[in-house]
């Protein structure tokens, strides 16, 4: 029996799922959910003895009795106002504790060929469209959390773009946790399908209302068909008391291009898995990541890029900053299959430790079975460069500000790759506020 076996509390919740699924649920979905519930019941929570969970013990999650929510909690709309991105013109879907809230959302003026709906609405209507899309990239086998998400799934976002449909405005998915007693866990599922030549920008954004300390367990399945272009922002800005596990699955077809920006600022215990499958020639992924851990925060990111076809490209840059007693983990796996000739894969992980008590582990993993490929990787963990500090001070800038400038600059090299200026600027501000030494910095664009 594993050290993180399911408590009685969760076993009971799973029993209710298995026995109590609503009769109107399509049979295919009921089957998948029951299967997932069984898988989670059998496996329990992951255990640090499992290689993939070596650095992250989810015991704090496993031992807490998170509850599921079945009703909408009251939320004042001005409580949400401060959580957004100032100046962002976007379609908006707001979720509170995983439940879609139409009253805070805005999906007006979607072009023809674009379906953007809550998962609950879609399942109540055109559910058959989801059968090939839901749970087919994200297998329950992937992890107990992916299985739990399927088992307890109640809501989420569905974004389906027909051939050649280009959304001019981004879609902002704002998923917030509310304060509750007991704290809740929610299992949002996000499904994206960009058909041939479609283009879209999606911001998957997690935050919390005052006093929230819940657990968000999300799964995102994203398909980019031939020539599609998808920009995916994953912004985790939870309260420092909140828990978050998120798994993203991306499948790319011929000549598709996906950009992933993954920013982690908040959270007490956070784990992300980004799984990219480049299945056809010409597909390209760009992965940009930044995490900041301070206090007692723990943020663990695993990326897996699977080059399963020739002529595929990946560009990956992750940066981490550790302060206080923060703990960060980055593990980046690149797998190049035997037939995937002319693969071009680059991965770089750079990390900055600002405190003697902070720790960051970085682990690149390259597995290459083809012989005509270009693969490069690099990983560093270090402190601020003394020469740079001296140079700034020699220009009259005090040591503290100089340190702040250098840390901020280190982070900004990732952020400046974001195309959406309002998102970038807002993140820069939140980042500066979280860097004590850079707190007073004004952000110059």
């Amino acid at each position: 029996m594993s050290a993180n076996a399911l408590s009685q509390h969760y076993a009971e919740q799973l029993r209710q799922v298995r026995d109590g699924l609503p009769a109107e649920l399509p049979e295919w979905l009921a089957g998948r959910r029951r299967g997932a519930a069984q898988r989670f019941a059998d496996a329990g929570f992951p255990d640090p003895r499992q290689e993939e969970w070596k650095y992250t013990n989810v015991r704090p999650i496993a031992t807490k009795p998170f509850a599921t929510t079945a009703t909408d909690v009251p939320v004042a709309s001005d409580a949400l106002a401060g959580l957004g991105f100032e100046g962002l013109d976007a379609y908006r879907m707001v979720f509170v504790d995983g439940r879609f809230r139409a009253e805070f959302s805005d999906l007006n003026d979607l072009p023809e060929g674009a379906t953007v709906q809550s998962l609950s609405a879609m399942l109540g209507g055109d559910a058959a469209r989801l059968e090939p899309l839901l749970g087919t990239l994200a297998h329950d086998r992937f992890s107990s959390f992916a299985a739990a998400n399927m088992a307890f799934m109640s809501d989420g976002a569905v974004i389906l773009l027909g051939k050649g449909v280009r959304l001019e405005r981004p879609i902002h998915l704002l998923l917030v946790g509310a304060a509750g007693s007991p704290a809740t866990w929610s299992h949002p599922r996000i499904l994206v399908q960009a058909a041939e030549g479609a283009e879209v920008t999606i911001i998957e954004h997690y935050a919390d209302l005052e006093g929230a300390s819940g657990f968000t367990n999300t799964v995102t399945e994203l398909r980019a068909e031939a020539g599609a272009q998808v920009r995916h922002y994953l912004v985790q800005d939870h309260a420092d008391s909140a828990y978050h596990v998120g798994s993203v699955f991306v499948q790319q077809r011929r000549d598709s291009r996906v950009t992933s920006h993954n920013v982690n600022l908040g959270g007490r215990l956070v784990r992300h898995d980004l799984n990219i499958d480049l299945t056809e020639p010409g597909s390209e992924i760009e992965l940009n990541g930044l995490f900041l851990v301070g206090g007692r925060q723990h943020v663990d990111t695993h990326t897996r890029v699977h080059h399963s076809s020739p002529h595929t490209t990946s560009r990956e840059q992750y940066r981490g900053i550790g302060q206080g007693h923060g703990r960060g983990v980055f593990k980046g796996r690149v797998l190049v299959e035997r037939g995937a000739q002319k693969t071009d894969a680059q991965q770089h992980s750079a990390n900055l430790l600002l405190s003697p008590n902070a720790e960051i582990d970085t682990k690149p993993e390259l597995e290459i079975y083809a012989d005509d490929v270009k693969c490069a990787h690099g990983a560093t963990v270090g402190q601020l460069d003394e020469t740079s500090l001296y140079y700034l001070r020699s220009r009259g800038i005090d040591a503290e500000s100089a340190r702040g400038m250098l840390v901020f600059a280190f982070a900004d090299e990732v952020l400046e790759r974001m195309e959406l200026a309002p998102v970038r600027t807002s993140i820069e501000r939140r980042l500066a506020a979280r860097l004590p030494e850079a707190g007073a910095m004004d952000v110059i664009g």
């Binding site: 009259g396 800038i397 250098l406 110059i444």
Partner: protein, 257 residues
């Protein structure tokens, strides 16, 4: 020249070494008054760079004896940033690349740090840009330099121009230029020298540290000092530099020995 003024910089029997290393500076004496341009010349390993770093306040150097007064204050009591705000600016031999920090941002922060130090209001962006544009023109630098990261991807010549640009914006009282001529082609040397000459004024002093005489044909010094094995072994006027050019360091060193 205003010889009757008190010295701006007064170095008295300065001895220093790299932390826990062998002595490098073995008793330097030097006085610099407002309006003067001094050149300190010397072969490799004579202590030129150590002198600059000690005056700039870099960590890793240890002063083992002597004093340095800057504008009547004990220089070693001042942090590197305080020295800069008080008007002592060091031009680096190897200007540092700082990814992610834009040139304009560094310039503005440095400029305002100095103003704040003097109790003056910070410059607004418009005023500041106007000032910087004027200085850019002097250095024949394109405005795009402002939006590039500090020294990142700059050629050797561009880096040195950038150092002088900072000087022109920050208007130091005492500019200490560490081998500003190294790595410059003839055209860049001319631009950089013209920039330094623009700094010359009766209330400002310049110390040029250099290996070669060629810089001094563009910036005419009032005094030339020869540094060898951690000591100034000979001082004179600009003709000393010409003498060095003819007979090399070896001749002067032997003559002084």
């Amino acid at each position: 020249m205003t010889q009757e003024n008190t010295a701006m910089l007064k170095i008295n029997n300065l001895q220093a070494r790299v932390e826990n290393g062998t002595p490098i500076l073995k008793g330097i004496d030097l006085e610099v008054r407002p309006g003067e341009v001094h050149a300190i010349m010397g072969p490799n390993g004579s202590g030129k760079s150590t002198l600059c770093q000690v005056l700039g306040g870099r960590d890793g150097y240890e002063v083992t004896g002597g004093t340095v007064e800057y504008q009547g204050k004990d220089l070693f009591e001042l942090e590197p940033e305080e020295r800069a705000r008080e008007g002592l600016l060091l031009g680096f031999q190897y200007p540092v690349e700082i990814p992610g920090v834009k040139n304009i941002y560094l310039l503005k922060e440095a400029y305002n740090a100095q103003r704040k130090h003097r109790g003056e209001p910070e410059a607004d962006t418009f005023q500041f840009l106007k000032l910087v544009r004027e200085k850019l023109q002097m250095m024949q630098m394109d405005e795009s330099f402002l939006h590039r990261a500090v020294n990142v991807g700059f050629s050797g010549g561009e880096k040195k121009r950038n150092e002088i640009l900072q000087m022109l914006v920050l208007e130091p009282k005492l500019a200490l230029l560490d081998e500003t001529d190294s790595g410059l082609d003839i055209d860049a040397l001319k631009v950089v020298s013209e920039g330094v000459n623009k700094l010359r004024s009766p209330d400002r002093a310049i110390v040029l540290v250099t290996h070669y005489q060629r810089l001094l044909s563009h910036i005419e010094p009032d005094f030339v000092h020869v540094l060898s094995a951690g000591r100034i072994i000979k001082s004179g006027d600009k003709t000393l530099a010409q003498e060095l050019e003819r007979s090399g360091y070896q001749g002067i060193i032997e003559e002084a020995a």
